[in-house]
């Protein structure tokens, strides 16, 4: 194939990928809807999932709340990115577990109590990632640092909330 014949194919591939020439312009979109109850149905790409109320203090809430999903997103990212970074460094591991805890500045404000004067924003998020591995500590720490650097949810939250997540090697 001559260069003249190859160029149109490349153009066609770029159009088919539907990606902006500038990677920073990529936009994630999600759609949510509700018929009036406390369940929001969420659609992203080919996936659909449900969320319960914006916030809940009930241990038996049937669906994750928006706050649960926020903290869950961070948890999933920590686990996923650490695993990715360990694999990039050919680090063997048995298990990765992450536990995240978050607190709201004024929970009464978050449920609309009349007269509540505080802010419903997250006040602090703390957590620990446990990794079971015989790898050298320095290699694991390097993988963990790399994971944090590439974590979008972590880096976003770091800008606006007290955020402290550490990694520990489990015996």
């Amino acid at each position: 194939m001559s260069p003249d014949q190859a160029e149109p194919a490349a153009e066609r591939r770029r159009r088919n990928l539907s990606v902006d020439a500038d990677p920073a312009g990529y936009t994630w979109t999600i759609r949510g809807s509700s018929a009036g109850g406390e369940v929001t149905r969420l659609h992203v790409g080919r996936n659909s999932f449900s969320a319960g109320p914006a916030i809940s203090f009930r241990p038996d809430e049937p669906l994750p709340s928006a706050i649960d999903y926020l903290l869950g997103a961070l948890t999933a990212e920590m686990v996923s990115n650490l695993i990715g970074c360990m694999r990039e460094r050919a680090v063997d591991f048995d298990d990765v577990e992450c536990r995240i805890a978050g607190q709201i500045e004024d929970p009464l404000a978050s449920i609309g109590v009349v007269g509540a004067r505080g802010n419903p924003a997250m006040r602090a998020i703390t957590g620990t990632v446990y990794v079971s591995s015989d790898a050298d500590d320095d290699v694991l720490k390097d993988a963990w640092s790399a994971a944090l650097r590439r974590s979008s949810v972590y880096c976003t939250l770091q800008r606006c909330v007290s955020l402290s997540i550490e990694m520990r090697v489990a015996p």
Binding site: R58, P107, L108, S110, G112, V113, G115
Partner: protein, 281 residues
């Protein structure tokens, strides 16, 4: 009444919201849709009821008296808990403290709950006056103003008062009978160390309050449904355990006399909280 009836409730702990979720679920499921509005203090709630933002208010006894005052006595109490009737507050002393009568409290210090707690401050001080002891003058008052605006709903102030006496820092404290029973059962208080010296007269506590223009037929329908909730039904019991009752009962207003006298004695609704001779923590 075509719109959803709105019930007001004061909360300080967001987990308590579950109580009103269950109440709403019950009424909605029985063909009487309701909504609830949560307030951070009773003054806001009484304002809301008077201004028509809610139709029924779950009022503390002090909020009830405030409502009576603002409505010239035309408001009504439509329901209450079984545990809201015939309560007493104990004045507790140390068994080794040498205090054998109320008169022995002269010159001593009594720890109380928040200034706006009927059970842990207003009524016991009324009791002292009935025994010719002037709080602040004849008896020093060490008040614990924990979470004011909640009319003593939060037992923190009462618990702090108990701890004062346990540590020997003050001579007596004021504790609601239900709290005394609970704290002696769970080990918070030791009846071998503390004992009730005297108790207030019986008084009533919270009630569901409405204004005069709340339709009587709606009152009957709403309260009839409420009283049908049963401790035998697990979902109802879950709510009742959180709210501290085993049954809903018709409202009554005969149990607020002593508190009304205490409020009149102190000019509670027309003055600042602390007197010059009371100490607030």
């Amino acid at each position: 009444m075509s719109k959803r009836l709105r019930i007001g409730a004061v909360i300080y702990d967001p987990r308590v919201k579950l109580i009103w979720d269950i109440v709403k679920e019950f009424f909605d499921g029985n063909g009487y849709p309701v909504d609830y509005v949560l307030y951070s203090n009773y003054e806001l709630q009484v304002d809301a009821l008077c201004e028509g933002h809610i139709e029924i208010a779950w009022n503390s006894p002090l909020a009830w008296l405030d409502l009576e005052r603002r409505t010239a006595g035309t408001c009504r109490a439509v329901a209450m808990r079984d545990t809201d009737r015939d309560r007493v507050t104990h004045l507790l002393v140390r068994r080794d403290g040498g205090i054998e009568s109320v008169a022995d409290l002269r010159g001593k210090t009594v720890s109380t709950g928040a200034y706006d707690s009927p059970q842990a401050h207003l009524l016991p001080l009324h009791l002292l006056r009935q025994h010719d002891l002037v709080p602040g003058d004849d008896v020093a008052i060490h008040r614990h103003d924990v979470m004011t605006g909640l009319h003593g709903d939060h037992v923190g102030g009462e618990l702090d008062a108990l701890k004062d006496v346990q540590r020997g820092e003050t001579d007596a404290c004021t504790v609601l009978d239900l709290n005394w029973d609970r704290w002696t059962a769970d080990g918070t208080a030791d009846p071998a160390v503390l004992r009730p010296l005297v108790s207030t007269g019986k008084f009533d506590h919270c009630n569901f309050s409405v204004l005069a223009d709340f339709p009587k037929d709606e009152e009957e329908r709403w309260s009839g449904l409420l009283l049908a909730m049963s401790y035998e039904i697990p979902r109802h019991r879950e709510m009742m355990d959180l709210e501290g009752l085993t049954a809903w009962l018709p409202g009554r207003t005969t149990g607020y006399r002593d508190l009304a006298e205490a409020v009149d004695e102190t000019g509670f609704f027309s003055q600042d909280t602390a007197t010059s001779s009371e100490v607030s923590q």
